[in-house]
Amino acid sequence: MSVEKDKATSSRRYLLGALSAEESERLEGEFFDYDETFEEIEIAEDELIDDYLGDDLSRAERDQFQKQLLGNPRIAERVEFAKVLRQASKTPVQPTAIKPEPNSWWQSLVAFFSTPQRLGGAVAVLALVVGGGFLFVDWLRLRDESRRLIAERAVLQRENELLARKIENDTRQLTNEKQNVEALNTKLEQELENAQERPSPLALLSPLFIFPGASRSTGKTNDLILPSRSAMVRLQLALEANDYLHYNAVVRRGVEGPIAFRRTNLKPATSQSIQVIELRFPSTRLVAPGDYTINLDGVKPPGKPEFVATYNFRTVSK
């Protein structure tokens, strides 16, 4: 026996008062917990009423039904309802087929036009259908055209959006590339400048240590002996005090002659326990042999450069 049938039988017996006390309690506990069980008992009640009216109950069941259920006004009321329902179900006028298989369209059409009244009506309807048909076809054409235009507009709009996005991307890319090129140019210019200052790896001369106003204070000339080939000159300018953040040096031929070399932002270093500013430049900058002056300025931001000291040296060819 299937579970469903088993439940139906239990429910039926419960309603007839034929279950044991334990079985009844089990079923009651279940119908309080599960709505499905409750509904199953209600269905059993429907079926008992129908069987009672249809004389499908055994003698014992009939007695139990009358004793257990029929005294209840609600059940009595339901029995009355079931009687009407049975009566209505047996009336032949009522359609009884559920979702009947549909006939083919032409079978339905032939059946429909089988009476003269319907045929007359059909002619009028046909005239309307033909006239309306043209309008309908025209409407369909316009609807399709309208749909096509809407679709085209949507496509164009989408294309415009994509194009605008592409232009925006290209512009951004070009701007980036321009910035890159500018940065590269700046770097190249700097490299070029540095390369001009450092034409080639040059031999480094021994440093010439110079005190401020050396020739005056020591009485001896600071001679820079230049080799025949180009070399890197090293001048170490002694500082009496280191009071500035950085220094600028200008090397001139003579006292007020042309500038041979200029360097800014120099930082002091220590040489032989003395703080010095070291200048390095190619010997080619000292084109003519003779006296040279170095003016050293100190810088304390944000102020202007201040004069610190003057250094003198003389170039001597080897």
Partner: protein
Amino acid sequence: MKRKWTPTPEAFEKLLVRLASDRNEAGERYEIIRLKLLRFFEWRSCDSPDHRVDEAFNRVMRRIDEGQTIENLMAYFYETARLIFMEWLKEKKKTAAIVENTPATVMPIHPDYREEEPRVRCFDSCLEDLPGESRKLILAYYECEKHEKIVRRKKLAVEMKIPMNALRIRAHRIRRDLEKCVKNCLGQYAN
């Protein structure tokens, strides 16, 4: 003397909260429990089942209101209902000792029931109000009798491509709605 507890709106609110967090859902659950309790007392042939349903609700509401922990609310409802039934049974036995047990009142079923006409009218009207498919189904379901009935219903289930049990449930629900409609309609007649 022990005072009788009377339900308060707050206690009812607490019960609803216990049934479901959503108020609408709680209301639906309340209706289902009420119906189950009512059927329980009816199927056990208790008299005044409505009164006993109210008593069951009052007792459960009181426990919730007093803050008692109830693990399985549905089981608690059932136990309360069973207790009320036992009390009724005990009372009935006492009464039976005084008065002779009268046989259960059986409502006579006459084919020419006086109220048949309004009932038929109501039925026809309610049947008309049903959706087409439901109307066809309910009439087809009760169309035949005896062995033909089974064959007819099997055929219906096949036509509708649903199992027999699903057909039973569907027919029951349509019938339930139809009965409710007829009952309401008859109530209007009575007024």
